[in-house]
Symmetry: C2
C-alpha cells in the first residue's frame, strides 16, 4: 500500500514509517475523552505513549517532535520529557519549540506548499483520526462534533523551490 | 576598540553590535539581587529589559535568543514573550528552546570550539559582568561570592571545519 504519507515523504526527502501502538492506548484515550468531554488529555496521552513507544525502540537515539511554541495539544511537559530521556536513553528534541505562530507561518510560506482545511475533512496523520473513528462507531457522528471543537488544520504538499 | 566579541563575530560570520541599556535597569537589578540574596530575578529582569529595548528599535524585526530548554536563567515566560511580540511588533524566537543539554552538547562538540571555566574567570558577554562589578564597588568581593553560586560557563572560540 502506498499511502499519501509515503508519497509525501519521498517528496520531502525524509524516511517514513508507520508506528503501530497497543490497542489499549486507544481505549484509554477513549475513556479520557468521554470522562472530560474534550480531547486535550486524551490526545496528550496518546502523544506521550507514542513518544514512549518510539523511545523504547533500541534503534531510536533521537526523537524530533513537531510541537511549536504556541501549540497546546499535544505537548509533553518538561518533566515528562526529562523522564523519557532519562529512563529510555534517547534525546528528545522539538526543533520548532522556540518559534511562535507568526514565525512558523513565515517559514512555511517561504519553504513549503501546504493545504489547509477544517480538521474533520483535511487529509492528515494526527492522533485524532482513530479516536474519531472509535467514537463514530460507538457513539455516532454527532458525538464527535460535540467532543472535538472544529479547527483548521494543514498538511504539507511539497517543498517550494528556493530561488 | 576591537573587543574579543568583535573578533569572534568575524570568525563566526555574524554581524555584531553592543546594545547599551539605561543605567536604571542595572540599579533595579542591584536592588533585586540584594533583596533576594540570589541572582535569578535580577538576571531575568535585565534580560527582559534587554529584549524589550531591542524589540523597541524600529529596525529590529526578529530577535533570536540563545535560551535552551534546560536553562533556568535568564528565561522569558510565555506571557512575557507574547506581550513583547504583541506590543512591539517583533518576532521573538529561541532556536535552541526545544533542545536539551545532551543534544546541545553534541551539537557544540560537532560544530564549535569552545572554552569552559568558572563563571567568575571566563571571558563572556553575559548580564552578570556589570552587576558583579557594581556589587564589587559597593559591597566588596566577598559579597559577590555570597550572591553568585559558582558555575561553569563557556564561550565559543570558533567554528569547527566540517568534514
Amino acid at each position: 500500500m502506498v499511502s499519501w504519507q509515503q508519497k509525501l515523504q519521498k517528496k520531502l526527502g525524509f524516511p517514513h514509517r508507520v508506528l503501530f501502538l497497543e490497542r489499549e492506548i486507544l481505549e484509554k484515550a477513549y475513556e479520557e475523552i468521554m470522562k472530560n468531554g474534550f480531547p486535550k488529555s486524551a490526545i496528550n496521552y496518546i502523544h506521550e505513549k507514542a513518544v514512549e513507544t518510539l523511545a523504547s525502540d533500541p534503534e531510536v537515539e533521537l526523537i524530533a517532535d513537531g510541537t511549536r511554541r504556541d501549540d497546546r495539544v499535544p505537548v509533553l511537559s518538561i518533566s515528562q520529557i526529562r523522564s523519557i530521556e532519562d529512563r529510555l536513553g534517547v534525546q528528545y528534541i522539538c526543533p520548532l519549540k522556540g518559534y511562535g505562530k507568526k514565525t512558523v507561518s513565515i517559514l512555511v510560506e517561504r519553504y513549503l506548499r501546504i493545504e489547509e482545511g477544517p480538521s474533520e475533512s483535511t487529509q492528515k496523520a494526527d492522533y485524532e483520526a482513530e479516536l474519531r473513528e472509535l467514537i463514530r462507531q460507538r457513539d455516532g457522528e454527532e458525538k464527535i462534533k460535540e467532543l472535538f471543537p472544529s479547527h483548521i488544520q494543514s498538511h504539507v504538499l511539497s517543498r517550494k523551490k528556493l530561488p
